[in-house]
Symmetry: C2
Subunit: 330 residues, 2 copies
């Protein structure tokens, strides 16, 4: 229980090197020190296998070089990519990642924040579904995909632009009877703009665009009912479907096939996210790809920014389109 196999401390190093404690500290903080001393300290440290205790250091400096990442889970491919990239981006800056998963549970989300604040991290990057999260304003917080307030920076993909892009692509590919499908949390989030962007393109062209938006629904059944009710003479009322994310697009494709419709010949399908099975694989479906690495880097950038007086409240990053077999590419 008690790991009293005392690890060497700075004091030990100082004694071993025959210098003062402060000198050792200076060496480990890259503060100029006599070349002779430096070598002696470094050698002594290596001999003893000394490592600075960053908690003791943090206690003194109020910086712990660690940040928390809060996600619903890490198994959904998009969250997995995000975790991966955030973790790398933080590591690149010499920061550790404390990972917390919440399973979409507001209580767990709040508990995470609590826990993490207690742990005196230097900041939090959170992708959460609680609208009124109680987070210490002294602690840097960056939100992904959910806007809280002007003083909490939110990083997201250009969801609106992505929706537009999907619409333009479908138009380009010859679709004239569009449909937007959405399922997800009823808590408003940036991703709601995907449908808005999609619809705006058709509205602008005075084309009709149908939408079906489901909140906190357990199953995809309503989509099936809706779709099958819109089939007449073996022909679907829509020829281009935009799904709020790839997970839904995959389900819808399977559903359409079951209903006797061919994808992409009868209906073209575009998802959102850009998930893959393995990093080297192709996409599951034609999709609007989120720039996950840039999302992560931007979040980390904002989180670790020294000057916190002038932070943007919302940063949108450009998305791109990728064909993935559910559209009729020329």
């Amino acid at each position: 229980m008690k790991q009293k196999e005392n690890a060497p401390t700075m004091k030990d190093v100082a004694r071993e090197a025959g210098v003062a404690l402060g000198t050792v500290s200076k060496v480990f903080n890259s503060i100029p020190v006599g070349e002779d001393y430096r070598r002696r300290v470094e050698e002594a440290a290596k001999r003893l296998g000394y490592q600075v205790n960053s908690y003791a250091r943090g206690l003194k400096t109020n910086r712990t070089c660690s940040a928390a990442l809060i996600l619903p889970n890490v198994t959904d491919p998009f969250f997995a990519m995000l975790a991966q990239e955030v973790c790398s981006a933080l590591a690149q800056r010499g920061y550790r990642t404390i990972l917390s998963t919440t399973a979409y549970d507001p209580e767990a989300e709040q508990r995470c924040i609590q826990m993490v604040q207690q742990n005196k991290v230097d900041g939090i990057i959170g992708l959460t579904y609680t609208p009124d999260l109680d987070v210490d304003p002294r602690l840097p917080y960056v939100s992904i995909d959910r806007y809280f307030s002007p003083c909490v920076p939110c990083v997201s993909s250009d969801n609106f632009g992505g929706g537009q892009l999907a619409a333009e692509k479908l138009l380009e590919l010859g679709c004239t009877r569009p449909l937007f499908l959405r399922i997800g949390s009823k808590v408003p989030g940036e991703s709601d703009k995907r449908g808005d962007g999609f619809e705006s393109v058709f509205r602008q062209r005075q084309m009709n665009c149908i939408s079906l938006r489901l909140n906190d629904e357990e199953s995809y059944a309503p989509f099936r009912d809706f779709l099958s009710s819109r089939i007449e003479g073996g022909r679907l009322a829509f020829d281009g479907i935009f799904c709020v994310n790839d997970a839904l697009a995959i389900q819808i494709r399977a559903m359409l096939l079951e209903l006797g419709l061919r994808v992409p010949e009868d209906v073209q399908l575009i998802g959102f996210d850009g998930i893959r099975r393995f990093a080297q694989d192709g996409f599951y479906c034609s999709t609007i790809v989120q720039p996950v690495a840039r999302l992560a880097e931007t979040s980390v950038d904002l989180l670790l920014r020294e000057d916190r007086s002038n932070l943007p409240s919302l940063v949108c990053l450009p998305v791109s389109y990728a064909a993935g077999g559910t559209t009729l590419e020329p």
Copy 2:
């Protein structure tokens, strides 16, 4: 230097509650204290929004309530599941998870360990590919899927048993011409036993079993060459293939289809791991399912065990078979 913005400390709480510092500490450590005092302290703490600083506590107690998890990445579905479960298991015990990803780079792996030791975590759970990792023997370490030495507990699935199970299943399903396919690191690991178990079943029955094992190969091309060279008159020399993991099984299936062979009609295929696209989805292929949650729980158990004098050096957890469309189920 002295930020007045600083979070309240025990001293503040003590002053606010009109008690001594030590009393406050006792309250927060569930050490018996007068009911009257306890209430006063708790109220004062709530009023001030006080949270114990666990780094300061850790400095004193040598326990930080956090453990490190080292994985190659968190995007491969199996690693993602593992990360998820380890993170939950640790959280359940009141431990934080520090996540480090290494991209299979031995240097990164060593760097992680270094970093993490510096951070004075209470232990490390690692799935690594460096045979001679240099880890402080004072720090509890649990290895997943790789055996290091008797004093470093290793947790893995019953890989040998899983291989046997795959063989028995294929036999049961009528296969008589088995093949084992493997690709991966040349560093020996527990997962090597999958093929051994598979082969042992056929050896015991004095049946022939062919194996193709690739080390650190970049591409799957050698498999394609091998397979196409074993087709005669449109018929493959094998009717049951066991792949070392699902990722490979998925590739092999695609390859077989391209070669004009039907799965499972002409060739049956079993993978290993039990990965899915989303938690609610089915498996990609028929597979030997690893008990990921139990793997995680066992690792955490072993890591946090108080009495470290009598730890097992290898724990194998039972796997199970699941049909996933690449076998001809009765």
